[in-house]
């Protein structure tokens, strides 16, 4: 299986542990990710706040480059990238004005985009293209005894719930269970982490972060699994401030791909786990085989 791959800026920066774990896990499963040549920033939420048409042009350049690769699908792991690329696809379809501006911009640059190529999340690829049965076969170190809170965040499931339910997504729950983990009920699984508000307005943003961590601790989770680099950063990097303001919520937040890597027996040092502020404890000992 071969896919075009759009990493996005975070996976080369604050979220590099996501890419560090995603690539070997996909390779183990025989999924080839081919990084787009000279891709640019998706624009995220900030660019869209300034100019809608330019935001669509920015995203469309990536879509055009992706289409040129001849791959069937484009895969992007970051929630903001996933949303912006999908949103641009919708806008190009629904708005003749935006379509006109974007097409002019693409033509001027010698690019073209048909609007057809699906933009998909690795979670979707893993559960629906690779399949849980194939994933189960690769598990050599089941995560037995590890209690995981599955946290999806917002932009992968909203507003376009293309591969899972917008209110109660379960793809990651099923994936984690396949790895042998104990998935704890986590009703806040699609609540907002605060996004960039943690940096711009900490009093507002960090309250949202704290609620998520507190609930995971209350539910008895050992670790939170996330699918988004900004969620990971928010839930991991502000524990000093959170502790000072509301008290400690000592729980690590890792990418679901890092948990997959552990279950596949990949060396911990290659999964970016050392990049966490709050480090994950070594896996619990496996119960003795009868």
């Amino acid at each position: 299986m071969k896919y075009a791959y759009f990493p996005g800026c975070s996976l080369k920066g604050l979220g590099r542990a996501y890419e560090e774990s995603l690539l070997p896990v996909m390779e183990k499963l025989g999924v080839e990710l081919v990084e787009l040549n000279d891709w640019n920033c998706c624009g995220a939420t900030a660019y869209m706040s300034v100019d809608e048409t330019k935001a669509c042009i920015l995203a469309a350049r990536n879509l055009a480059i992706a289409e040129k690769t001849g791959s069937r699908d484009l895969v992007t792991p970051c929630s903001a990238c996933y949303l912006v690329l999908n949103k641009t696809k919708h806008y190009l379809k629904d708005s003749p004005e935006i379509r006109g501006s974007v097409q002019r911009a693409l033509e001027g640059a010698g690019l073209r985009y048909s609007g057809e190529m699906p933009v998909r999340h690795p979670l979707d690829i893993l559960v629906h293209d690779v399949g849980l049965d194939v994933i189960r076969e690769k598990v050599v170190r089941p995560l037995t005894g590890l209690k995981v809170a599955p946290y999806y965040g917002c932009q992968v499931v909203r507003p376009y719930a293309t591969f899972d339910d917008a209110w109660n997504p379960t793809t990651m729950d099923r994936l984690l269970a396949t790895l042998g983990a104990e998935v704890v009920p986590y009703p806040l699984k699609t609540k907002c982490c605060g996004g960039s508000l943690t940096g711009t307005l900490p009093d507002t943003g960090l309250r949202l972060t704290y609620i998520l961590l507190k609930e995971a601790v209350r539910r008895g989770a050992d670790v939170i699994a996330t699918i988004c680099p900004l969620c990971q950063f928010n839930l991991d990097a502000y524990h000093d401030q959170l502790t000072r303001q509301w008290g400690p919520v000592p729980i690590p937040t890792v990418y679901f791909t890092q948990l997959m890597g552990l279950a596949f027996g990949l060396p911990e040092s290659q999964l970016g786990l050392r990049r966490n502020f709050v480090r994950m404890k070594p896996l619990p000992a496996l119960p003795a085989r009868a």
Binding site: G108, Q155, G195
Partner: protein, 152 residues
């Protein structure tokens, strides 16, 4: 929050343009789309907030010392010149422009990022910056830029 989302909608409909565009509340939308998928009348509230932010920036009447529009503008500029975002450099620019004291209160986080190898000081950039800049500027003379569509 100065105005609740309901108040924002009501102000828009009653044509209180200045009050809405100067409000800090529209910038508090983190774009999680929870309201958009919940709204029984299928009003795309998140997108309306985006339209209001765009209009406030276009008309230059956003709250000037408020960190959220400052971040949006710095993000916009970095993408224009480099094609990609280097998050740590973006946050430093935000702190310098919006609240330099935040640098002091975040020093431990900065050290943590260095320790975990996530503090990037070299700009990420694309090769074909001229192509991207040309594409983004191709929209300059679009008439929609002079009369952006109404938010509601």
């Amino acid at each position: 929050m100065e105005h609740s989302p309901r108040q924002i909608m009501a102000l828009v409909r009653a044509d209180f343009k200045d009050e809405v565009l100067r409000s800090r509340s529209i910038w508090l939308c983190a774009s999680c789309y929870a309201c958009t998928v919940e709204c029984p009348r299928e009003i795309r509230i998140t997108d309306i907030m985006y339209a209001l932010k765009q209009r406030a920036i276009l008309e230059g009447i956003y709250p000037k010392r408020f960190p959220i529009p400052i971040l949006a503008k710095e993000f916009f500029k970095m993408v224009h010149s480099k094609g990609r975002i280097t998050e740590t450099l973006l946050v430093m620019r935000l702190f310098l422009r919006a609240n330099w004291r935040a640098v002091l209160s975040s020093w431990r986080q900065g050290i943590g990022l260095i320790r975990t190898g996530r503090f990037v000081l070299r700009h990420e950039r694309i090769e074909n910056r001229a192509q991207l800049a040309g594409m983004l500027d191709s929209d300059l003379h679009d008439e929609r830029r002079i009369t952006p569509k109404e938010a509601a």
